[in-house]
Amino acid sequence: MLIFAYGNPSRGDDALGPALLDEIQQIAAHTRLAFELEFLSDFQLQIEHATDLHRHDRVLLIDACAETTMEQAWRFSVLSPDTSTAYTTHAMSPQQLLGVYQQVYGKSAPPVFMLALRGQLFNLGEPLSEQAQIDLQQASRFCWQLLQQPDLQVWLDLAAK
């Protein structure tokens, strides 16, 4: 399984994804898991990341989320290809990434799940906000429980909640 976190470590809460990935990597180094994990971190999604999804039977994406309406520290969902188009010239949605995957490999991407982490402050040079640090611990606990569950249906059920 691939765990792919993205975000800029130097932009406040945008660092949430890479920070959670660091925690998972540290724990995984000393723990036997139901999955063989591969880790990837980047600043933002790009089309070539479609090639990183290849040869994995499951993918977990982790990203900070700027939605101010999020009530929980995290939101877990399953992704499907989408045709959304963006005004911004360089942003790419995870759903678009799945569409690119289909083209490159001529088949559907493996199941891709999204763990969105609530972020609030994204200023350059700022560390994680206090709230984000608290949220990170909650998300870390959830993520760790998730990684104890090899059954895909369990993940799908959790994503549907």
Binding site: P9, R11, A66, A86, T89, Q96, Q103, L124, G125
Partner: protein
């Protein structure tokens, strides 16, 4: 006066807003494109040791970190008193930069602009996106991904890491290429050159198919600024500054980048965070200019590599009077000529034994000021640093490519609105066309932005008193 506001808001820094101003005759008198430039950089970098700069600046931008990395490294060369880095170091850096420009241009064409170009600007938005390209031109979309992947691999190998490597250091680089690394890049380079050549051919066909429309859409007559190399060659990594006027006549040439403050000034407007650079000799009103692929291909006298040079000549022949090609949509064509130039240059460099050399750095006497200038994918990028006696950064000044094109983008938007806005009604095709005009410049609006939390496009029509007349709301995907 009537103001029309288009306010697409996206995450962190992708915030942009267009305000159009009409007079009583409903002519567009002004267009203001506001985007949030990265702020706080000076605070971020001040007090840091100079040698950290090439790594730190990469965190400014998730799109062209290598350009910032190399521009900062060039400035650091000056700080450590090195005027000429060893051949191995320079060629490794050039290779890295070619990889960066190749992957950036590939992303822009295959992912961002090809839907506009292939389907036309009035096509349904839901179709006119990358998924549409995938469905209708499957091979093209695949090539785009693999070209991009190849460029990233060049960056990984030359910088030591896939993301934000540390390859360039003050005075040189910290690694050369191993034989295995060189061989791995050589395996695919012929294919990359072929794809790049095909993409230029496709772009040429698209442009010539609707030549009159392509030449007029969002077109403005501007001066152009770029680096050029020896003899006036197209140059992306290092060179001297050349500016040409609207007719292609030289305003200045072979000017050292160290003297940029004598040549360029920046104007501030109260309504924008972005500055407005202008050529000092021409002043604020007349001195604004364009940078990037269009400026570079127009300004240079030749391209060193044969296939790209052949394409440059065809490109230039579009303007029979010898003047610059001013069509804004010709940015796309120029960009792909550069893509081909990068692919050919990578192939050429991979045959150069200096890439495997051992002399990686040079040393000199410490100085207190360093200026590094590079041609980033979107245009000329200036990095200027000053340090104290302890080597801590006391001042930093950056002029990024999108800033140079600030006024030009406003003018292109105004041109589109003037040509296409009828009455006071904002229409979906008009919004699409405004976006197409902006996209031609490939502005970097989204440093470190992602799609999560992305906001929809909102369009407001205000009257002279600021009262909202109408609002158009465009959800992503609609």
């Amino acid at each position: 006066m009537i103001k029309i506001t288009i306010d697409p808001v996206s995450r962190v820094e992708g915030h942009g807003k267009i305000t159009l101003q009409q007079n009583e005759q409903l002519e567009i008198t002004q267009a203001r494109f506001q985007i949030a430039e990265f702020r706080g950089f000076e605070k971020f970098i001040q007090g840091r040791p100079y040698w950290e700069a090439p790594v730190l600046v990469q965190r400014l931008c998730g799109i062209c970190p290598v350009s910032h990395h190399l521009a900062a490294a060039k400035a650091m060369d000056q700080l450590v008193g090195v005027d000429q880095i060893p051949p191995t170091a320079e060629k490794i850096r050039r290779l890295m930069h070619f990889g960066q420009v190749l992957q950036s241009h590939a992303l822009h064409f295959f992912h961002l602009s090809s839907p506009d170009l292939l389907f036309g600007y009035d096509d349904e938005v839901r179709h006119r996106n990358i998924v549409g390209v995938i469905n209708d031109y499957p091979e093209l979309a695949r090539q785009g991904v693999l070209l991009r992947k190849y460029g990233q691999e060049v960056i990984r190998i030359t910088s030591g890491k896939r993301v934000h490597g540390t390859g360039a250091i003050p005075g040189g680089v910290n690694k050369n290429l191993s034989v295995a690394e060189r061989n791995s890049l050589q395996q695919d380079i012929d294919q990359i050159v072929d794809w790049a050549e095909s993409s230029v051919e496709l772009m040429k066909q698209i442009f010539l198919h609707q030549a009159e429309w392509q030449k007029n859409f969002a077109t403005i007559d501007t001066h152009m600024l770029s680096l050029t190399g020896q003899g006036g060659a197209l140059e992306l990594y290092d060179g001297t500054l050349r500016a040409c006027d609207r007719d292609g006549k030289v305003i200045f040439d072979q000017q050292s980048c160290d003297d940029y403050l004598d040549l360029i000034n920046e104007h501030i407007e109260s309504w924008s965070y972005m500055k407005f650079p202008f050529l000092k000799t021409l002043g604020v009103e007349q001195g604004w200019y364009r940078v990037g692929p269009l400026a570079r291909i127009n300004n240079c006298d030749f391209i060193r590599t044969p296939l790209a040079e052949q394409q440059r000549q065809i490109f230039k022949s579009q303007q029979s009077d010898g003047k610059p090609v001013q069509a804004t949509l010709a940015y796309h064509w120029a960009r792909l000529i550069e893509l081909l130039y990068c692919a050919e240059s990578i192939r050429e460099l991979l045959d150069d034994g200096d890439l495997l050399g051992d002399e990686l750095t040079a040393q000199g006497e410490m100085r207190l000021k360093g200026i590094g200038v590079i041609e980033a994918p979107r245009g000329t990028l200036f990095h200027h640093y000053e340090v104290d006696e302890q080597g801590l950064i006391t001042r930093a000044n950056l002029i990024v490519s999108t800033t140079h094109n600030n006024q030009a983008m406003n003018e292109s938007i105004r041109r589109v609105a003037q040509d296409s806005l009828s009455g006071q009604e904002l229409t979906e095709p008009l919004l699409n066309q405004l976006e197409v005009a902006i996209r031609a410049y490939d502005p970097c609006l989204s440093c470190a932005t992602h799609a999560l939390g992305q906001m929809p496009l909102q369009v407001d029509l205000l009257d002279a008193a600021g009262k909202l007349q109408s609002r158009k709301y465009k959800q992503a995907g609609n």
